[in-house]
């Protein structure tokens, strides 16, 4: 294949993948009232308006809360599990792996409906709590997988040496293992954060009146209103995700872990 053919094919593919997104960024810059491309005059008013919409602010706060604390909760139980699966000869290790990985395989909308009907309603759990538990469960498989792969690269004789030199097992973990898998944990946190923040199907049934995650709030906003503010908000969120991943890549070579 010639150079030219290669670049034509890649150009077309990348235009298809990224082009629509550039259009959203510009559609959000419209000075007019209706969503259109090319925009009717340029202004940043829709980008500014996004910050004044009360429901967006509330749902952004909720999504941020879920993404941070849901991921932290998943790490809190995921790190010990990953450690146990890597370093111990566990009976039923394969089954534990399958159970923990299950939330990735089952389609999100089914998860949401199942939890609503057979967890939230019977136990009378609040909406926020239900969303928190769901997001933690959805992020857990990623947390276990990423931390596991980072533990795989750490030789276990370092901990054994620490124990022989007088550390307790717990000290060996906090002083030797944790500092060495810091990058993996951070990568797991970022992956979990982005996954949780962008999650829609599982949160769909669980979101109630007034308590919605941001992507779901955007979905219902665009059903009623057809102005460029969702375009502006989409662009802002994309910048946020891309910036987080970009910084992570620069700081710790994020892609090594994922």
């Amino acid at each position: 294949m010639s150079r030219l053919t290669i670049w034509v094919i890649l150009g077309v593919t990348l235009t298809f993948l990224i082009g629509p997104f550039l259009i959203v960024i510009f559609a959000g810059m419209s000075a007019g009232e209706a969503l259109a491309f090319p925009p009717q005059g340029l202004s940043l008013k829709w980008y500014a308006k996004v910050f004044t919409v009360e429901s967006f602010r509330a749902s952004f706060a909720l999504s941020l809360f879920l993404a941070i604390f849901g991921t932290l909760a998943a790490l809190a139980i995921g790190i010990p599990a990953a450690y146990a699966l890597n370093r111990y000869d566990l009976p039923g290790a394969e089954m534990i792996r399958t159970i923990v990985a299950a939330p990735i395989i089952v389609p999100g909308i089914i998860v949401g409906l199942a939890l609503l009907r057979y967890f939230v309603v019977p136990l009378d759990v609040t909406i926020t709590m239900a969303l928190f538990v769901t997001h933690a469960a959805l992020v857990l498989p990623y947390a276990v997988r990423v931390v596991s792969s980072s533990l795989n690269n750490l030789r276990s004789d370092m901990e054994e040496a620490a124990v022989i030199l007088g550390c307790t097992r717990f000290q060996a973990f906090t002083k030797v293992v944790l500092p060495n898998i810091r990058g993996g944990i951070l990568a797991a946190f970022i992956l979990g954060f982005v996954t949780s923040f962008n999650e829609v199907p599982a949160s769909l049934f669980l979101s109630g009146p007034g308590v919605r995650t941001l992507p779901i709030d955007m979905l219902s906003y665009m059903e009623i209103t057809f102005d460029p503010s969702v375009a502006a908000l989409s662009a802002l969120l994309a910048f946020m995700s891309v910036a987080i991943v970009f910084i992570a890549e620069r700081l710790l070579g994020f892609s090594r872990y994922v």
Binding site: V106, I110, L113, A114, P201, S241
Partner: protein
């Protein structure tokens, strides 16, 4: 490897128990409802009722069709793009690959929303059509199967390209030139050299794209609406519009079975060909 098993179990148990209780148990109960059209009585009535309605059959077949079409198309584009990427000079390869991965970090809502701007009544495509005088009034492009297909393809194509690139990176550099020198056409090179050597990547990519397309909610919801229902949006309607939980559970069961069989079938294909 530590031998203290109870200590290990104590470490692994919170995660396993958590997932089991708040995830597997509710999902299990939900799926069991699909077999109880009348509470307490086990039967396949739910399935019979579900498939006896023409709308449900249409939606089922459409979901299957779109899943296969999206997976097939992304395989074709994926092979072309992946072949180009691995043949790039090392300096530009990383950044081009980064651009392919980039969309995966962006919210699917934002990525799907773009197609409203492009395909809407006053979108780019319609403006062009009306501007060129090809039609006097805007054509309905949104809420069609094509719109859903394009949206799904854009959403999941990166997964196929990533799988194929990592498969192709393992092909020795001189294999393709060798085949060409020995007189193979590009067609033969693909089917007799590249395809057999990358089929694992194709299987992984194919499974990811197919199951992704089957279980996507946002794209059919935004681009298909109630005119072009897929199983996921139909499930949502069954629950929120008609309060029909048996049908919802039947759909859930169908989706899970389809995802698992896709895994099995594709694995089977991969092993038969070798």
């Amino acid at each position: 490897m530590f031998l203290n098993r109870s200590e290990g179990l104590a470490l692994a148990l919170p995660a396993a128990l958590f997932t089991f209780l708040v995830f597997l148990v509710p999902v299990g109960i939900l799926l069991s409802v699909a077999f109880q059209a009348e509470p307490g009585v086990w039967s396949l009535r739910g399935y019979v009722d579900f498939f006896s309605q023409p709308l449900n059959r249409t939606v089922f077949l459409r979901t299957l069709k779109l899943g296969i079409l999206v997976a097939g198309t992304s395989a074709v584009i994926g092979y072309l793009a992946a072949f180009c990427i691995v043949n790039l000079p090392a300096t530009s390869r990383g950044s081009i690959f980064g651009l392919v991965v980039l969309p995966l970090m962006i919210s699917p809502v934002a990525r799907t929303y773009a197609w409203i701007v492009i395909l809407g009544r006053t979108g780019i495509v319609n403006d062009t059509i009306v501007g060129l005088g090809l039609s006097n009034t805007p054509i309905r492009l949104l809420f069609t199967e094509t719109a859903v297909f394009v949206g799904l393809l854009q959403l999941f194509l990166p997964l196929m390209i990533i799988s194929l690139v990592s498969a192709m990176e393992n092909i020795p550099k001189d294999v393709v030139p060798a085949a060409r020198v020995l007189g193979a056409s590009w067609f033969q090179v693909f089917f007799r050299v590249i395809l057999p050597l990358t089929k694992e990547g194709l299987v992984i990519g194919g499974t990811l794209v197919f199951t992704g397309a089957l279980t996507a909610y946002i794209t059919p919801a935004i681009l298909g609406g109630s005119k072009v229902l897929m199983l996921e949006t139909l499930l949502y309607q069954k629950v929120n519009v008609s309060n029909d939980f048996v049908s919802a559970s039947v759909i859930a069961m169908i989706l899970i079975v389809m995802c698992f069989s896709a895994n099995l079938v594709l694995k089977r294909i991969a092993s038969v060909r070798s």
